[in-house]
Structure formats: structure tokens, C-alpha cells
């Protein structure tokens, strides 16, 4: 019986039927179709979060000068306060509110009589005390249920104070995971922010880095590398970003997409509205970073830029070569399972490959089918009740701001090569006989770890210690276990160092006490020892 069936067989028939669709025994001759972005069965210990977590926690939370008021009881604001490691520096004359947590802390009477009045008062107080230029309002579950019109309050605040105020109806119950929240955040940023800036940009190699949240400083390392090559990063969505960066995103000539899941809506809408094509890149892994830099240079098609990119690649490689070789010697032949996010479970396979570590299982917490199977499946994905509830917006080309860098013919050529407007998904990079599991739950984690016995399990805080108690090293790929950056060349060394440290830490050898294996009685039988 296959490992997959051994796991599934322990379920009752209804759960079996559901979960079977979420697992794929990868076989390059098959379609490898997987069910994703659908409801988790109640009672299953899932690692998934909610819409609010995707909107406030992931997409808008990192914007440093947005004053984000979580409208609801205290918990949601509290848990998303400083817990995701999206770093940001406060520049001269800039605002940075990331050390703060703001909430309307709704109480019982507010739930009964409505919370709009309190929200308005909270905005008054925010203006008095903090003088922000942008306020964002993120709603939590009860706010949607009691019918507070946060969008009307946002309009009121804009008029009253002459600031920008954007409301996000990201109640936790919407959608089936964090994914719905990404979509809602994307919609509002396109509607109310992108396109409003008028920063003067002269560098024709101007790009947006989409879906990079600067966890552990990843975004900074990526930006350092891109600048070395000669690019100007107009905006990063949204790690370390300020509102003005996002407002100017329409001025770039190319958007590169790191996390496809959380930001693909914006990537597409920017292209339709402003003519900026997008390219899927991956700055996790040495080979992946090199390929991404080369693809970008190919798009801009400039000999000088291409030469500089190659020189940078050579130099960065030279700097890490020795370290990488050392760590590869320590890690080669190890196996890994990865369960994280909507992109990282794919991205990190490249970095692990660089180190000779084979990925035996990978899955996403909130990915859609296209993150597994590639964008070619999109026409075949049937929308269900949960996804239909999330507004899907359309935009028209902006007559003034629409601009093209490449001729239609050149662009089409790149599209045919699948370098532009395309994401291949993870399955094409997975070897036959490995497993893809969507929404990998606690039970399956335990069982797969027992059966596949990977050396490392990459996941999040909720299952980290489950794996480790069972004797498998676990590293968090949401927070990098408070380390990082892991992106690009230098990041690869940091990652390798952290994995090697985890595997070779001496404490693992003390798990079994010596008396567990030694005989309790020592004596003589007939005078013989």
C-alpha cells in the first residue's frame, strides 16, 4: 500500500473521500490534479488561518506608515502585533507604526448597539495622538455580522481630516483560509492607492517587487541584489514599504512576482490598467536567483544590464561558494518535507536542491490549484460558493498612465516562452514518487512524518514542536525561527547554516537516557559474570 493510502485509510469514509482529493502521488505521466482552496472539514486540526490574517497580517500589515486600526474585540489586533517579522526601517521624515497595535477593543454594548461610533472616535483619537497620513480599517468577524459600515466611516475620515482612509472588509469567516484576505487587500490597494503617486522615475529598469514581505529582511537582501544589477525598485509589496511606494507602482516597467498567491491579483490588474507585464521570479535558492536575474535581464534586453547582472552573479557566487560547499557536504542526501504558505513550499525546494536535500513531500496551507499545477489550470477551476463571495474586480486601461516597455511582438515572444504572465506551479519541479498534500492537517503531518521519515520538516509554529517531539528537526518557514534573511545568495548561506545547526545540535543524541538500553540487573550466575 502506498504511503498516501496508509494515511488515508485511517479516516472514516466521508473524510477519506474529501482528503483523497487533496493528495497527489506525483507522477509525471499523470495530470497530478489536486483539490485546493476549498473548505477544511470542521473538527480537522488544520494549520490554516482566516481572512483577517491574510489581509491585515499578510498584505497590508507590513506597510510601515499605514496606521491600521483593527475594528473588533481585542484578540485579532493583539495576535497580529509584531508576530510576523515583516521588518521595516523608519527613514528620514517617514512614519513607521509597526511597533504599535491599534484596536477599537469592542465591548459588549458596542456589539449590541453597533461599533461605528466607537470607530469614528478611535479615528479622532488616532489623529490627535499620531497624526497619520493614512489610516486603514480592518474588520473582524463580529463587525461584519452587526453590519458596521466601515467604508462609510472611511469616507467620513477622508473628508473630515483630509487623509487617506481605506476600509478592508476582511472578516475572518470569509473564504476558506488566509487567501480570501489577500484578495480583499489586493482589491483595495488597486482601487485606492496604486496609480496615485507622481514620484519622478528616470531609470528605465524600474521594477515592482510583488509578494515580498521582508520577513527576516528577505526583501532588503533582494533589493540590495537588484540595485547592484542596476534596477530601481519602485515598490515592494509590501515588506518595508511605505504608502508612497505603492502609490507609484504604476510607473515601473516590469513587476516581478515572488509570492504568486498573495499578490497575483495586483500583478494582473496593474498589467491591464497600466501596461506593466509581470514575471514570476524566485529569489529563494542560488540557482533560482540566478535564473530569475537572467530572465529579468532578458525582458529588459539591454546588453549593459545583462553584462552587469552576470558580473553580479559571478561576484555573489564567488562570495558564498566556499560556505555553500561546506554546508552541502554536511547536508547532502538528507530529505525534507515542506508545508507552508502559498509559495514557499515551492520556492524552498530550489534552495534545498542547491544543498543536495531532496524534498519528499510538499504542500500549501492556502494555495490554489495554480500554485500546484500551474496557471494553465485556471480555466478549469470551478468557482464555489466560498470563492464567489469574494469580490473580483476588473479594471480598464488608464489612458494617461498606460505605458509599454516592449513591443507587442517582443512581449508575445516572452509570453510564448512562459517568462511573462505565467507561473508553472510546484508539481513540475517535483520528482516522481514524491507527494503533494494540500491543507496538510495535524493527523496527516504525524502520519507522513512517521512513514516518510524526512530529516527536516519545514512548517510553522503550530506543528514545529509536534515534529520535534517526535524526533524530527523542524524549522519554521513562516518566521524563519527568528533568523534570516534567507533570500538570494547570502540568504542561502544563512539558511544552510541554520539547517546544519539544527541537524547537528548535540542535544538530539541525548533523547534516549542511557538506562533505557542498559540492563537493570547486574549479577553472577553460577559464579560467572
Amino acid at each position: 500500500m502506498s504511503v498516501m493510502n496508509k494515511v488515508l485509510d485511517q479516516y472514516n469514509s466521508r473524510v477519506y473521500k474529501n482528503r483523497k482529493e487533496h493528495m497527489v502521488d506525483v507522477n509525471s505521466n499523470d495530470k497530478n490534479e489536486i483539490a485546493a482552496n476549498v473548505r477544511t472539514i470542521p473538527g480537522i486540526i488544520t494549520q490554516r488561518g482566516c481572512c483577517y490574517a491574510g489581509c491585515k497580517g499578510v498584505v497590508v500589515g507590513p506597510i510601515k506608515d499605514a496606521f491600521i486600526i483593527t475594528h473588533g474585540p481585542i484578540g485579532c489586533a493583539y495576535y497580529s502585533w509584531g508576530t510576523r517579522r515583516h521588518k521595516a526601517k523608519k527613514g528620514e521624515g517617514e512614519d513607521n507604526y509597526l511597533q504599535y497595535c491599534f484596536s477599537t477593543d469592542l465591548q459588549e454594548p458596542d456589539i449590541v448597539f453597533g461599533g461605528e461610533k466607537k470607530l469614528k472616535q478611535a479615528i479622532n483619537e488616532a489623529m490627535d495622538l499620531f497624526h497619520p497620513k493614512t489610516i486603514m480599517i480592518c474588520s473582524t468577524c463580529p463587525v461584519g455580522l452587526i453590519g458596521d459600515d466601515i467604508h462609510a466611516v472611511a469616507k467620513w475620515a477622508e473628508k473630515e481630516y483630509g487623509i487617506k482612509c481605506i476600509a478592508f472588509s476582511c472578516e475572518g469567516y470569509k473564504g476558506v483560509s488566509q487567501s480570501a484576505g489577500h484578495h480583499i487587500a489586493n482589491n483595495q490597494l488597486i482601487k485606492y492607492v496604486i496609480g496615485e503617486g507622481d514620484r519622478k522615475i528616470t531609470n528605465k529598469f524600474a521594477i515592482n517587487v510583488l509578494g515580498e514581505y521582508n520577513i527576516g529582511g528577505d526583501g532588503w537582501e533582494t533589493e540590495r541584489l537588484l540595485k547592484r544589477c542596476g534596477y530601481e525598485v519602485v515598490s515592494t509589496f509590501t515588506g518595508g514599504a511605505k504608502m508612497d511606494d505603492i502609490a507609484n507602482a504604476h510607473q515601473a516597467n516590469l513587476s516581478v512576482v515572488q509570492c504568486h498567491r498573495s499578490i497575483n491579483y495586483i500583478a494582473e490588474l496593474i498589467e491591464t490598467k497600466y501596461g506593466i507585464p509581470w514575471m514570476k521570479v524566485n529569489f529563494v535558492g542560488v540557482e533560482a536567483t540566478i535564473e530569475s536575474l537572467r530572465n529579468m535581464a532578458k525582458f529588459f534586453n539591454d546588453p549593459e544590464l545583462t553584462a552587469r547582472a552576470e558580473a553580479v552573479i559571478a561576484d555573489e557566487l564567488d562570495n558564498i561558494e566556499q560556505d555553500m560547499a561546506y554546508y552541502k557536504s554536511k547536508l547532502k542526501g538528507k530529505t525534507a518535507a515542506i508545508y507552508v504558505g502559498g509559495s514557499r513550499a515551492h520556492h524552498y525546494q530550489f534552495l534545498l536542491n542547491d544543498l543536495g536535500v531532496h524534498t519528499v513531500l510538499a504542500g500549501y496551507e492556502f494555495g490554489h490549484r495554480e500554485e500546484y499545477e500551474g496557471r494553465e489550470v485556471i480555466p478549469f477551476v470551478k468557482p464555489d460558493a466560498d470563492s464567489k463571495n469574494i469580490e473580483s474586480i476588473t479594471v480598464e486601461p488608464d489612458k494617461e498612465k498606460f505605458h509599454v516597455y516592449l513591443s507587442e511582438e517582443d512581449l508575445n515572444k516572452l509570453k510564448e516562452e512562459k517568462l511573462i504572465d505565467y507561473y508553472s506551479g510546484m508539481v513540475k519541479d517535483m520528482k516522481d514518487g514524491t507527494y503533494m498534500v494540500d491543507d496538510l492537517n495535524h493527523f496527516e503531518t504525524e502520519e507522513f512524518l512517521k512513514l516518510l521519515k524526512p530529516d527536516i520538516f519545514f512548517s510553522g509554529i503550530k506543528d514545529k514542536y509536534v515534529a520535534q517531539k517526535g524526533g524530527t528537526l523542524s524549522r519554521q518557514l513562516h518566521s524563519y525561527d527568528y533568523s534570516g534573511p534567507y533570500s538570494c545568495f547570502r540568504g542561502a548561506v544563512n539558511f544552510a547554516r541554520d539547517i546544519a545547526m539544527g541537524i547537528y545540535t548535540p542535544a538530539w543524541s541525548y533523547v534516549k537516557a542511557p538506562w533505557k538500553t542498559a540492563p537493570i540487573l547486574e549479577g553472577t550466575i553460577g559464579g560467572v559474570q
Partner: protein, 454 residues
């Protein structure tokens, strides 16, 4: 660091900034983890459960296992009855707990889900249990939720058989497993047989064995919870965390209770010992007297470094009040006391403490937040800050030594294994405080004043 915080007072009525509390359900989840073979269940959106598990895991660095009703928009409109029913079936099928402990969320409370009737309609397998408590996030705090869950277990399960079992029921309050172990050790040392509810020792501080246990060895058993009804007496620690469940056990099973403050420091540990002694009616053993004497000895030894030092303490109400009394015993001045949990009793008890020890110019506030505490510190600074991780930003901004104590501590390790309660816990806290103050003295000393011996 926290550059927007200024000392100018400003009356806020709506905007909460840098809270010193979180919501009820996480407390309920923690309480349920202290029951053996129990699956805590969050009846609401997935995000609640994910956030709470994340947060507890970050504090304890141990798995916090719990399930969720995974509400979608449909369930929010039509009610979560079906979700709970499906959840119960799957939980018993897949995770096979002895008991499921359901707590609600602001979502299921706002739509008015009736958990009593939902649970009555669920087919709970023979020998298994399902209990619940209401934990609307828009009322009270995580301490309220903890208290409600403990009371929920008692209301559902505890029974009086008519025959006392000679045990003392100990309600430890919202403390770490290290504290629970210390409370139990003291009871044992005093010759008292007890049951503790909840008891997260052996669950949230479980050892590394190479085998993951979904239900580790620790936790109060269902049988013990049932038998709580036959206890001779309850010792309940902390008004905010334990009064409601103590009252519930008294009402349901006629078990009288003594409500004591969390036993942190000399006087408050003395009260615990006296309560145990009034039950056993035998002399306090020398081993306990020795520990007490050691703690007193330590406080006399370190007084030059602690006396008249001003301290700001924030966190959960029972914990803050007890640490405040301990620092008073050390000759320090608890200048500011802040809890995010609402309740007049906090400020009242704090005032009584200030009077008892004759200190002036101290302030206490319930339903407060760290923004306001920081404003107070900017107005008039302190020598030491004591509280959970979130205080590190204030400590850095104002360059104040910082001792981590209470919940949550998500940026340090080992703390949950070590007690603050009892004389031993007092020694630990005294060491943390003295070291913080003395390290600061060392750091700030001019080279010629840098001392070999202190």
C-alpha cells in the same frame, strides 16, 4: 523606539493602543489543555484557533493542540450547529480524546449559537464527554476565558456523591506549568491530598522522548474533575481567574472555598501554607520553614540593591497584584500597576496594598494599556519594569531594566518551567530582579567604580 508616545495625558475612550490583554478564547484553550486527554475546540472561524495555538505555542515552546469548527460565511448566516456536529464526529473519530471542551468566539456569540442545545443534540460516544463554556471576546479578557472554561468543566462534570474524599481542590489560576508543579509540591510537602484543575504540567512542559503524544501524561483527568464535587475544600488562587469556578463548585456541590491571592512572595505564600495547615491541623514541616527562611534571608541580603527602587508592573490582574506585594516586601515601590483586564477589584486591591505598606504616589489601572503605562513612565520614570514580552519596547525606549514575568513571554525560553509561586518561586523572582538591577549598576558604572565584589 515607540517614538509616537508622548507624556502629555490624553483621555482616550475608543482607541486601544498596545493592549495589555487579549481575548477570552485563548484563556479557555489554555485551561482545556490542562485536562488529560482533552481536545480544546474553538467554535468559530479557523483564524481564532490558529492565532490561539500560535500564541500558546510561542509562550510555552510546546505543541498547543486544538480543533476548530472552521466557520465559513454560510455557517455565519445559518448558525454553526452543523459545523459543531461534524466537528465532534471527526474529533472523536480521528483524535479520540476522552473529552472535547468547546469554547465560543465573538463570531458564534454574535450570531447567538446555543451551545447547550447543540451539545445535547450531538451523539457523544459512550464513556466520552463534551462540555462547553461561553467566551465572547468582547467581554473581559483571556483571564475571564480561562476562568469560564474551568467553571465549565465543573458545571458539566463535578458531582457530589454525598461522601467527602478528603481532598483539597486546588484551582491554580492562570499560571505556568512550573507554578502548578510548585503549588502541588507544597501541598504534598504539607501532607495534603489534592486535585488540581486545570493542571497543564506534563502537558505544556512535556519532556522530549522522541515520540509525540497528542495527549501527554499530564492534565487533570475527567474522573478527578467529577470527584472535585467530593472535595472537602477548595483553595482558589486569584480572584480574577479562580473565583467564578470556585463559586461554581460551591454552588453545585457544596464545597466551601478559600479565595487566596496567587502565592507569589512571602506573605501570600504564607497564606497558602496557613490555609493548608488549617486543613491538616498539623505542624508545618521544617522543609517548608527552611525554604521560607531562605527567602527571607535572601531579601535581607539583597536589600541594598532593591530598597526604594521604583517598579512598573503590567500583565494579568492576579499576577500583577501578587508581584506588587512581593516587591513591596522587598522594600521596592510599585509605582505603576497596569492590567488590560477590566474589573474594579484590581484597583481596589492595589490601593489596599499601597496603604498596607505605606507607599505613596503609586497608581493602578485596570482596563488599561501599555501606551498609557509608557506615558506614565515618561512623566515620571521607574527603575525597573516587570511584565510580559510586549514590555521590551518600553524598556528599550526608556532604557529601563526589564524582568520578564507572567503571560505572554514569547521572546525567551525556559520561563514556563520555572515557578514564580511559593518560596522557591520567590527566590527565583528575587534573583531575576536583583540581577536586572545589579547588571544595570555594572553597565552604568564608571570604570573606576566598577566593583569586583557587590
Amino acid at each position: 523606539m515607540l517614538d509616537y508616545t508622548t507624556k502629555e495625558t490624553y483621555e482616550r475612550s475608543a482607541l486601544r493602543v498596545n493592549p495589555a490583554k487579549t481575548c477570552q478564547p485563548v484563556g479557555a484553550m489554555y485551561a482545556a489543555l490542562g485536562v488529560h486527554e482533552c481536545m480544546p475546540h474553538s467554535h468559530g472561524s479557523q483564524g481564532c484557533c490558529a492565532f490561539h495555538r500560535m500564541f500558546l505555542t510561542r509562550h510555552f515552546k510546546d505543541p498547543a493542540m486544538a480543533s476548530t469548527s472552521s466557520f465559513t460565511e454560510g455557517a455565519s448566516v445559518f448558525g454553526g450547529g452543523t459545523n459543531l456536529k461534524t466537528a465532534a464526529k471527526n474529533i472523536f473519530d480521528i483524535y479520540n480524546p476522552k473529552i472535547i471542551a468547546v469554547h465560543t468566539t465573538c463570531l458564534s456569540e454574535t450570531i447567538g449559537d446555543d451551545l447547550n442545545s447543540f451539545i445535547q443534540d450531538i451523539d457523544v460516544p459512550e464513556g466520552k464527554y463534551m462540555v462547553h463554556c461561553n467566551t465572547p471576546s468582547y467581554y473581559g479578557s483571556h483571564i475571564t476565558g480561562f476562568s469560564n472554561m474551568v467553571a465549565g468543566f465543573i458545571r458539566y462534570l463535578s458531582k457530589s456523591s454525598g461522601k467527602k474524599n478528603g481532598k483539597v481542590a486546588i484551582l491554580p489560576g492562570f499560571v505556568n506549568p512550573g507554578d502548578m508543579r510548585e503549588m502541588k509540591r507544597i501541598a504534598k510537602e504539607m501532607g495534603v491530598s489534592y486535585s488540581m484543575l486545570p493542571d497543564t504540567s506534563g502537558v505544556m512542559d512535556s519532556p522530549m522522548t522522541g515520540k509525540f503524544e497528542l495527549y501527554p501524561k499530564g492534565g487533570t483527568t475527567v474522573e478527578e474533575i467529577i470527584a472535585l464535587g467530593d472535595s472537602s475544600q477548595t483553595i482558589a488562587f486569584g480572584k480574577f481567574a479562580s473565583e467564578v469556578p470556585a463559586e461554581a463548585l460551591s454552588k453545585k456541590c457544596n464545597v466551601p472555598y478559600k479565595l487566596l491571592p496567587l502565592p507569589i512572595g512571602i506573605g501570600r505564600t504564607d497564606e497558602y501554607i496557613m490555609a493548608l495547615q488549617s486543613y491538616t491541623k498539623v505542624a508545618v514541616p521544617y522543609s517548608i520553614e527552611e525554604e521560607r527562611g531562605q527567602l527571607v534571608d535572601i531579601l535581607i541580603d539583597i536589600h541594598p540593591y532593591t530598597y526604594n527602587k521604583k517598579v512598573a508592573i503590567f500583565g494579568d490582574p492576579d499576577t500583577v497584584l501578587s508581584i506588587a506585594e512581593f516587591v513591596l516586601e522587598m522594600g521596592m515601590i510599585p509605582k505603576y500597576l497596569v492590567t488590560g483586564t477590566p474589573g474594579d477589584a484590581f484597583e481596589k486591591t492595589a490601593e489596599e496594598l499601597f496603604v498596607k505598606f505605606g507607599v505613596e504616589g503609586c497608581k493602578a489601572k485596570a482596563f488599561g494599556d501599555l501606551f498609557e503605562l509608557h506615558q506614565w513612565i515618561k512623566e515620571e520614570s521607574v527603575d525597573l519594569l516587570i511584565g510580559g514580552t510586549h514590555g521590551k519596547y518600553i524598556a528599550r525606549a526608556e532604557d529601563i531594566p526589564f524582568v520578564r514575568a507572567g503571560f505572554p513571554i514569547i521572546d525567551r525560553y525556559i520561563h514556563s518551567y520555572m515557578p514564580l509561586v511559593g518560596y522557591k518561586g520567590g527566590m527565583r523572582l528575587a534573583e531575576l530582579i536583583a540581577n536586572a538591577l545589579m547588571d544595570r549598576q555594572d553597565r552604568d558604572a564608571a570604570e573606576e567604580d566598577f566593583e569586583m565584589v557587590m
